[in-house]
């Protein structure tokens, strides 16, 4: 499976070449390019997977394309976000620079949002994705309180808990999560940690990937490359300038 948008574009090239040499199969057909489709199918199959994401913060340009594509893909209501790129201006030794930190649900291995759910509506799938059964959720928002990353919210349209699902519906169909596919800088890499040959496995194996709030022992499965430790926890800084909630009420 292509793990980033660039890999995906590269594999599109393979589709085109495959189509040219294997006419009359349509290039738009999933069958057209076994070489490209097979890895997607590998992630879509039931076999033991552990999905994860690696975010190279050095490649993120803060364009929020992921934020917007997630909103459209998942019908996220106004004023709510499943992912957002926190953006910081860091001034050090008289020099100013921008730091980007794409945030989303970390699909924690020891997710604090799961045990608190009084009706068992939040659970972890065998592939590691933490999801909410919206038909069972009573909207008590206990999970929203328990998530240490502010990754959850109550969806005002469904009145149930909402969060990133790693685009489970897309992954099942052999596609990448919308944020990965739309990432302009190629900063987001999605894949299967259970496969030692996957891009995420290779990046994590290098040993310099970090997670947010490691001291809490939640074992997040969103890893960051090049993360400044001062941004890994609750950021001590001047507060945000852009506050959609505040603006709505004033």
């Amino acid at each position: 499976m292509p793990d980033t948008r660039r890999d995906f574009l590269r594999s599109l090239g393979a589709v085109t070449v495959g189509a040219a040499t294997a006419a009359p199969v349509s290039a738009g057909s999933a069958r057209a390019a076994p070489a490209a489709a097979a890895p997607s199918a590998a992630l879509a199959d039931a076999g033991p997977h552990r999905f994860a994401m690696v975010v190279d913060v050095g490649k993120c340009i803060g364009c929020q394309a992921c934020t917007v594509s997630c909103i459209f893909e998942n019908a996220v209501p106004e004023d709510s976000f499943r992912t957002i790129v926190s953006t910081y201006e860091v001034v050090e030794d008289g020099r100013a620079g921008m730091a980007m930190l794409p945030r989303l649900c970390n699909h924690c291995a020891d997710a604090p949002c799961i045990p608190v759910c009084p009706v068992g509506a939040t659970f972890q799938q065998p592939n590691g994705t933490v999801v909410v059964d919206a038909d069972r959720c009573v909207g008590c928002a206990y999970c929203v309180q328990a998530c240490p990353y502010d990754a959850r919210f109550v969806n005002h349209l469904t009145q149930t808990a909402d969060k990133c699902t790693f685009c489970a519906h897309r992954v099942t169909a052999g596609l990448l999560p919308a944020c990965v596919e739309s990432c302009v800088g190629g900063a987001r890499v999605f894949g299967d940690l259970a496969d030692p040959e996957s891009a995420v496995s290779r990046l994590v194996a290098k040993g310099d990937a970090k997670v947010l709030k490691p001291e809490l022992g939640t074992r997040p499965h969103v890893f960051y490359l090049g993360l400044d430790d001062r941004l890994a926890g609750k950021v001590e800084g001047q507060p945000t300038l852009w506050r959609p909630s505040a603006e709505q009420h004033t």
Partner: protein
């Protein structure tokens, strides 16, 4: 080095003012029930205990409504019983609440039955007939009263335990993640309950110095414990003796709004304590309202204030009380429902029974 947060998410408060009302009312109910136990064991001032029981009933009936309203999917409450996740304190609460409210109703009926029968025998008005029906004969049932008192006391303790633990276990919020919190909830509940008993005394119009003195003693004790707990919490954080407490304090200490809140909280505990210690003329009204205010304000600060502290971002989230059902209207609605329950209870239950220990002597 300095960091300026240019873009970040702002999360809404998801435990609404309904939750504040629930924790406030259930705390008052439990503490009032404990204060009313003299009725079952024939101890202490009977008027004080009866007022406390009226308070326990009115608050105990309204609290679950507020809790239900805090759910974003109230129609699915049956899921708490159909698919409970017993790793969650909230799931246990769904069993403790009916146990407590049910026990409270049985206990109230057992201790008030003779009074109801006596009041019902005085005339043949509709109310008197209703009182006779509710009294079911009116024979004292001291064993039932004692048994119901013990069972309800256990359920009441479980309510205090679960409401405290439910909040305390949230490690994501250092402000909540402290073993002091269940104790602070309990202490402030007793402060508010003593205030409510004083208020009910003023509303029923009967002057009774002994009942007021009993309430003042409860309030003084509860406030002293509240102050001790608050100072201990502050010392742990300020002296850096414990990491979570230091984090909690650091997350709010630099903000003007929280500095004002700290002063407000100090005044809300010290002022009623001075009042109940000195008891100047007309102290009961003010002490009643200040006691209730202390209990409510503590919960507002913990729940609404606590949720304005971002878990990852800088500064504070902005919260403005909405005027609709998830804000001011909700608060007014619970108070209106409380008033309705209070009037209903005090209409059916005679305000001034003339026998001192009707439970055992009739």
């Amino acid at each position: 080095m300095s960091i300026l947060e240019v873009v970040n998410v702002s999360r809404d408060v998801s435990w609404l003012p309904w939750a504040v009302q629930y924790f406030f009312l259930i705390g008052l109910s439990v503490a009032c029930f404990v204060m009313s136990l003299g009725l079952a064991f024939d101890r202490g001032d009977r008027t004080f205990a009866r007022r406390a029981l009226v308070g326990a009933l009115a608050c105990g009936l309204v609290a679950p409504v507020a809790l239900l309203a805090d759910l974003h999917q109230p129609g699915r409450f049956w899921r708490f019983y159909a698919t409970p996740n017993l790793h969650s304190w909230m799931a246990w609460g769904a069993f403790f609440i009916p146990a407590y409210v049910g026990g409270l109703l049985v206990y109230a009926w057992a201790v008030l039955r003779p009074d109801l029968a006596a009041a019902g025998a005085q005339s043949d008005h509709m109310l008197a007939r209703l009182q006779r029906i509710v009294a079911l004969g009116g024979r004292p049932v001291p064993r039932l009263a004692t048994a119901a008192a013990v069972v309800t006391l256990i359920a009441a303790a479980l309510i205090l335990l679960y409401t405290g633990m439910e909040t305390m276990v949230v490690r994501a919020r250092p402000f909540w993640n402290t073993p002091f919190l269940p104790l602070q909830f309990a202490a402030t509940a007793f402060t508010g309950a003593a205030g409510l008993v004083l208020l009910i005394g003023r509303l029923d119009g009967e002057r009774n110095a002994a009942a007021d003195t009993a309430a003042a003693r409860w309030m003084a004790g509860a406030l002293t414990i509240t102050i001790a707990l608050g100072l201990a919490w502050f010392a742990l954080g300020a002296l850096g003796l414990e990491r979570t407490h230091a984090q909690a304090l650091a997350s709010v200490a630099g903000h003007r709004a929280w500095q004002v809140t700290a002063l407000w909280a100090g005044a809300a505990t010290v002022l009623p304590l001075l009042l109940v210690a000195w008891r100047p003329a007309g102290w009961t009204w003010l002490a009643a309202l200040l006691g209730l205010h202390a209990a409510w304000m503590f919960r507002w600060t913990v729940f609404i204030g606590g949720q304005t502290v971002p878990k990852t971002g800088a500064g504070l989230y902005v919260y403005q009380l909405p005027l609709g059902h998830d804000g001011l209207l909700g608060i007014a609605g619970t108070l209106g429902l409380w008033l309705f329950c209070y009037l209903l209870i005090t209409t059916v239950v005679p305000a001034r029974p003339d026998r001192r220990s009707s439970l055992v002597s009739a």
